[in-house]
Assembly symmetry: C2
Homo-oligomer: 976 residues x 2
């Protein structure tokens, strides 16, 4: 028998219950739980047990003695059954609510081969462009589609939701006015959740939001930076914005249009009518509503504002051989660079959903989209026609998919509302006397007829077709005349085989967790298990409209409650808000709660936010957006926060201290011993402690933010709690807070959050529970791990990092360590000494790792010139060893340069990565054999992931920004 056999015996933990089901999850999730292996690894690290490792790594002062209370682990099938029973209680009524969310048919080929495919959903943000050309191409398609439809040349690769996209636009307008124009005008005909999110966001910037009638607003004071209009409006009306736009522009006010991509296939584009920005939700392009998300917001603008755009932009560049290649453009714009100059804190966005929308666009093409729009429009027209014939008041405005009906009395409106409820149809009640109904791709003539019946309209949908005109915009200024999506990419993949193959082609160019570990420090690329993902696409999870009456969704609300309870236990906090849609949004929400708390006590001047210089860029960006004044705190030579400096500054600002933001374990991957002291100091000076929970994977079950003494903390559910990264989103950033902050947690104007207090801040996301449809992922994870499994995962995460560090430390310098020379769950490899000796940079090592089949660790963050490695608990010893071996082999390659045996500029590292076309080219003039380029590792020949391009040229890409699809020639290479 084999040693490896012994291993599995150990991982199947003996249970007291002889009938315990055997599909337990912890041993599938945690990588190296085998007795033999575990012992080897513990020995290498110099401890006897996982317990000892925890006890000697986590500072004694903060170790938690009590077990978690999330319950015993369920097996995979048990957890699936448990959640299925819960979610089956949700009712799926016929939906006509509208308000920026619409039913859509996700083409099954996209559903299964993209949304449900780990090769797509386990990708990370395309930092390593050479092994990410697939999703980069897809995101470029998304940008092109958005640019074409909105008529604005520059688009980003997704934002979190329509509400925050509108808030981003406001911030841009303000920035364009150089923070001079402090007013932002919002049409009252915008979606209420959008208005509310904008209002929440405005507070931090000190912007005054005026909501009103855009036709009568007076722009002439010159104090209004921008105007936000909804096109079509929330009540369905499509209005002529000529005057308001002229008026705005004449007065130096920028124009933002919140819009609908499907409607734009019929309507003159925002660009054509003069808008400066367009934004909205791309959800109805094939992405399920998911009770609020996830889906991708879009954002586009004119050339002149592109460098101010929030979020990521994909651009065309070239590789080292001059071959066209894609990359994230203008990375220097990213938040971790802008820091306290930031106006936005977007990091995790909605890449996976943008890819879905793009594929939907490709599959249907412009003509297909027009047909879908036309049919949707027809249903609205037919309804309106029927209503008019029945003497209902639908007004005289143009509309696309939403019809407004005004009643003379509350009683008459209520009768219809009751009839709809009885028929299990959800509509929107705008006011006591005003109702709206929206239509979408999923509706049928039968649905329309049934709805009409509830309105007392006599006749079937079919019976009114004859009397409607077809395109209600025809012959008006609203009618779209310009082409869109004319690029061949939108006109080539209309059969299932063609689209399937295109998706598979792109997928095969990208490294994801299906290939190898992705040890990105601070990103926690752990297992995203299939059983966690399965519930996401259950109809009862992914279908509900976010403003569905709560009573219809008892399953969802049970799940929210249980998840909030478990996350509160895990974080050691009093209350949790599930609303924030990303880690950065969590930061923002937490800081706003702190501000509200100080304000509530009359402490209105507490605006100083202490932030260590090592912090993630979103920290200062969030603080800035909350209107806080950032005071940096340095680090000592060990990488720890300079406690003396902290004390000094905390005291100096004791009257104005609002908060400290701190990441724990530190962004350097170290459990700082002083953390309790730090918290005490801040509290003693009147401040609150915001803990950045990005590193929670090193805390769960061993300690907790609440236990340590923090007041608030966000959780990146897409890190510690298994939501896959999706190539750059979706994620979720719930926050936990101590009791004094709880009253200020966000609520929602349309669908109030359960338990929200009357002091609640406004919403930070468009949906009441953020991206609800992905919460089951974290829910499943917690249920399947149970209290013991969660703690064990943390121990393994720490073990794996320390084991790798041990194996590497002879060859590389490890930058910072804590107690006993121990790191937490990640560690930093310093490449600066190597660079000094050989000219080899952290980037060269990163690219060379691609030749070995690996995605590089986090590069030059938090310390430039370094690589930060985070293995997570989900990797087996075999995989950890393989990665370490690769780094050790690379170290030997570097040694050849150091000794002069290999040229400093012409070597396997500087030329990395090696795409096969380069290796197979006739010409080969390098001082190392081709095989060293392509097959550096012993395992490469049995399995090799090939980068499809050579090293990206970053400078060329930013010099000339091309962020829509390039001409076809760039897609197909001619052979020599």
């Amino acid at each position: 028998t084999f040693k490896v056999a012994a291993r599995f015996v150990a991982t199947l933990k003996e249970s007291d219950d002889p009938f315990a089901k055997l599909d337990s999850f912890t041993n599938r999730h945690n990588g190296s739980s085998a007795e033999g292996e575990l012992e080897q690894m513990l020995r290498a690290v110099g401890v006897e047990s996982l317990e000892e490792l925890g006890n000697t790594t986590v500072p004694a002062a903060i170790q938690k003695k009590e077990d978690l209370r999330v319950g015993a682990a369920m097996t995979e099938t048990e957890a699936i059954d448990y959640l299925k029973n819960m979610m089956s209680k949700n009712e799926l009524n016929q939906n006509h609510i509208g308000m920026g969310y619409a039913g859509t048919n996700t083409p099954y080929v996209i559903l299964r081969n993209l949304l449900e495919n780990p090769a797509w959903y386990t990708q990370y943000t395309p930092y390593q462009a050479e092994v990410a050309q697939g999703r980069l191409e897809s995101l470029l398609n998304f940008q092109t589609m958005v640019s074409d439809l909105t008529g604005l040349p520059v688009s980003s690769a997704s934002l979190l939701d329509e509400g925050t996209a509108a808030a981003e636009a406001m911030a841009m307008c303000f920035a364009i006015s150089r923070n001079k124009r402090a007013k932002f005008f919002v049409s009252e005909k915008c979606h209420p959740q959008t208005i509310a999110v904008v209002e929440t966001r405005a507070k931090g910037f000190g912007i005054e939001v005026i909501v009103g009638d855009h036709a009568t607003y007076d722009f002439s004071n010159g104090d209004t930076s921008g105007v936000l209009l909804q096109y079509p409006a929330t009540d369905g009306s499509v209005e002529d914005f000529k005057d308001v736009i002229k008026n705005s522009h004449d007065n130096g006010t920028k124009v933002v249009l919140a819009t609908d991509l499907l409607a734009l296939t019929m309507l003159t584009s925002p660009g054509e009518i003069g808008a400066d920005f367009a934004l909205g939700n791309s959800q109805r392009l094939g992405v399920p509503m998911g009770y609020g998300g996830p889906h991708a917001a879009f954002f586009s603008t004119k050339e002149e504002y592109k460098r101010l755009m929030p979020g990521r932009i994909i651009g065309l560049s070239k590789d080292a051989q001059g071959k066209p290649a894609l990359r994230m453009a203008m990375q220097t714009r990213e938040q971790h660079i802008r820091r306290d100059k930031a106006t936005s804190n977007i990091c995790t966005a909605q890449a996976l959903l943008a890819n879905m929308a793009a594929m939907y666009g490709l599959y249907h093409g412009p003509e297909g989209l027009k047909k879908i729009a036309g049919r949707t429009h027809l249903m609205a027209q037919v309804f309106a026609e029927g209503a008019e014939k029945s003497a209902l008041n639908v007004g005289s405005h143009k509309f696309f998919d939403t019809v407004k009906i005004e009643y003379p009395s509350t009683a008459e409106a209520q009768k219809v509302v009751d009839a709809c409820a009885a028929a299990k149809i959800n509509i929107r009640q705008m006011s006591d006397t005003v109702l709206t109904v929206s239509f979408d791709e999923t509706h049928t003539a039968k649905d329309v007829t049934k709805l009409m019946g509830c309105f007392g309209i006599d006749g079937s949908a079919e019976s009114f077709v004859g009397s409607v005109s077809g395109n209600g915009f025809a012959g008006t200024d609203f009618e779209r005349k310009s082409d869109f999506m004319t690029h061949p990419i939108f006109n080539s993949f209309h059969t299932e085989h063609e689209l399937l193959r295109y998706m598979m082609r792109l997928q095969s160019k990208d490294i994801s967790l299906v290939h190898s570990m992705i040890p990105l420090g601070s990103c926690t690329m752990k297992l995203n298990s299939t059983s966690e993902m399965i519930p996401v696409t259950w109809p009862e999870v992914c279908m509900p409209h976010p403003f569905t009456p709560k009573e219809q969704l008892p399953g969802y609300y049970e799940m929210f409650a249980e998840l909030e309870k478990d996350l509160a236990d895990i974080t050691g906090f009093y209350k949790v808000s599930l609303q924030p849609n990303s880690g950065a949004q969590g930061e923002y929400t937490g800081l706003m709660a702190i501000r509200a708390y100080h304000d509530s006590r009359g402490d209105v001047d507490r605006k100083v936010c202490l932030i260590p210089t090592s912090a993630h860029g979103t920290n200062p960006a969030s603080a800035k957006m909350c209107g806080l004044d950032i005071v940096p705190i340095g680090c000592d030579e060990l990488g720890n926060i300079d406690v003396a400096e902290l004390k000094e500054k905390a005291e100096k600002y004791k009257d104005t201290l609002a908060a400290l933001m701190i990441t724990y374990p530190s962004t350097h991957g170290v459990f700082e011993e002083t953390i309790k002291d730090i918290c005490d100091t801040v509290h003693a000076n009147g401040g609150q402690v915001y803990m950045d929970g990005a590193n929670m994977n090193a805390q769960v079950g061993l300690t907790s933010p609440g236990h340590i003494g923090a007041d608030v903390c966000h959780l990146n559910l897409h890190k510690t709690f298994c939501i896959p990264h999706g190539g750059g989103g979706p994620g979720m950033g719930p926050i936990g807070v101590a009791e004094q902050l709880a009253p200020f947690l966000p609520s929602h104007p349309v669908s109030p959050v359960v338990g929200a207090s009357d002091k609640a801040m406004g919403p930070v996301s468009a949906g009441p529970y953020g991206s609800s449809a992905i919460l089951p992922i974290s829910f499943m994870y917690i249920k399947m791990m149970g209290s013991d499994g969660l703690k064990e995962a943390t121990q393994y995460a720490i073990l794996n990092a320390n084991y790798m560090k041990k194996r590497l430390e002879g060859a590389y310098d490890i930058l910072y360590t804590g107690n006993n020379g121990r790191v937490a769950h990640e560690f930093i490899i310093d490449i600066r000494p190597i660079k000094a000796a050989s000219g080899i940079t952290e980037s060269d090592v990163a690219k060379r790792l691609q030749d070995y089949g690996f995605h590089a660790p986090t590069m030059s963050w938090p310390v430039s010139g370094t690589l930060m490695v985070e293995p997570t608990e989900s990797e087996s010893k075999a995989e950890l060893d393989r990665f370490v071996d690769a780094l050790l082999m690379i170290r030997e390659e570097i040694r050849q340069i150091e000794t002069g045996a290999m040229d400093r500029d012409n070597n396997m590292l500087k030329h990395a990565p090696h795409s096969p076309d380069v290796l197979v080219a006739e010409e080969w003039d390098r001082p190392y054999p081709r095989e060293v380029g392509g097959y550096p590792a012993p395992w490469s020949k049995s399995f090799k992931f090939w980068p499809t391009v050579g090293r990206l040229d970053d400078v060329a890409g930013d010099r000339q920004l091309i962020c829509t699809c390039p001409p076809m020639e760039t897609y197909t290479e001619e052979t020599a």
Copy 2:
């Protein structure tokens, strides 16, 4: 705008209904329906319209005027909703039926990433080994697992089901006796469906099956070729077979054990107790029961019988560079070679399900399997203990998972049966007074307790644990002492990440429809759409036990009825049987029906079966297995059946003529004009016409077997009706028959087929409706295409073939054509003239196509030295052109050899395919550049599928057969 844009407009057919849903399927399924393209293609073929093409290609005499009557097309979402509603009527009761089928937890990671993954399910049988190393490795794992568990060194890569596997064993025993021993003994303790399938199969061979008590059977007459025993038996008992095996062997009788892989983790293996053959169902290793299938039967034997083994065997060989590489071993054993010497007609088997079972074995490893077996065993023990304590009679024999309870009276047994029914629990009622209950991985203690309650047993499952002994076999001869699955491959992938990556690694080595068209003539590799696949894994489809009382499954029975009706309409027949599990099984069933028909008329001597020499190998094999005498009919120089010879032979054998077997359009891809005449001739001479429906994709909607005059025809649902090929199965081979044959269609002894007559033949499959769980695929296809779409698909299939032929015919010789120089849906490229001129063979062209990213057409069948191309309707013009371009470029490469510009032996064709390790090697001494090897096509650089090994050495592999996992060294290559 672009030409391609115009295309899609045309494909979205204008409907009369303005509300028609827009997710129509036909334009996703049919590849080139664009106006612009269609016209170009029609013009190239020389016709004006698809109608004209049909009218001028299909002989006028057999064209059908009436439309199909399967209804109008549903859209994708409509069809999903329709079937979901239907299937939701199925009830899923707690199941303890046993009888060779057991509940199992399909690990979700396998469910999603293998069973639901087109990269696995759209693979074809690994004929082109260089682009199939992934599934070959997985099937080798399956073989190794089966060999280890059964203790017999040689295993095949799956058979259709346990019943037919037993029948195969019988045929082998008979063959080993050189057809001398005409008796085959079957223990009465075998599963009843197995006994019945064996009995059906015995008829054709003229074997006498004796069913009885193996302990008392007298083997001494020397007339018994084999004995079939069940281990554990159908009533659960595990018996000591020492005596019966010794007795058999002493008398020259071979011993066959039908067994259970999970039980074998606890029981001494069949090999160890002396069995010559072991077989059974691997279903409970992670494959859902699917109301009968699909799942993979296993079959293993001793070294000495390996060359007689039915089905495919994967073996280790090496490639042109000497690198270890896998392939199908002993392909010369395949049925198309054995023809009328065949004893088996296995072609399509159950590769996908064998792969699932193998992955389940890898994921759990030997220790995991033992735990699952142990827990299952414990539940049975606990039940038995409780029963004994309650004074029920459970006998004294050993058992694994099934407990038998004997009652003194019918009334007492019936009380329990009623209690179970009331509790919604399915058990097995073996007789009026005997009940059995079986346990499996999915049961819980609660289930056991509930079941015990129905039996009047007092106490919970837990309450009896203390009084059971643990392993009931411990210390007896039954206790397994030998190791199994000790190879590292079974002990390395126990975490989800490791298994996921292993599956992805294998998948990446294999070409499937997710990469490019696979134009395998006679195999109809059309689109297997996602919407067709989705219902397969609905619980209400994949969970039911095949012997669930019908009343619990109204959804299934509605679906069967509707599918039978539609297939009868499409084939022009009176009645359809859904039971046969493959095309070859359909042939067998159809011929048996013909025999029964003749017998029923007293025509007992009608045993001559005319078969054209061009027939597929399964045709003569099936005829042989039915006990028919094969009389071959030649073809004329045009490739058509020699009608004069047919007439002569039909008349010559007019008193003994049973049937003609004929493929239509012919295996040469031609619509023979004489087909009606041929049918008439056969009928005039008392014979029946069996039509091989492999080429139905050229008939649907244009003509039909019934219309043409055939009496029976099988349908390969895995060709024309979209069941994916799964890398060599599953498939389904229902047959349609004319009225006179209908009474003889198979029924089933355990679960009678609806509408079966009292003249019904015995079952041909273990399940009453074959592999029921994949029937929804064909059902969905028919519903989504509708009458018009199905016909249009046929027209496109013919158009695509003729278009390709036109483009190729200047460069290559096209072997046979029909009317107007037209081919049907496929055509044959003759490589023999090329070989004569250049030495380049069909195999060289096939392997070179891999360098261009394509799977080769069918090689050397039906004519050796040729390639047969079948594009199907699902390919777009762009893809057809790409394939044609590859062939044309290859033709130019050959021309270089013909002109002497390139060496005859050392050239890019002889060295094809080029794996990247060869291209990247330091040494390159070939007379063409590396790039010509690796990047021959203009599209290769933007996407390239790389073969992972060089050309397979067939001879080496067969010389020394290695068909279990080789030592680890062969998995990992060291770099130079």
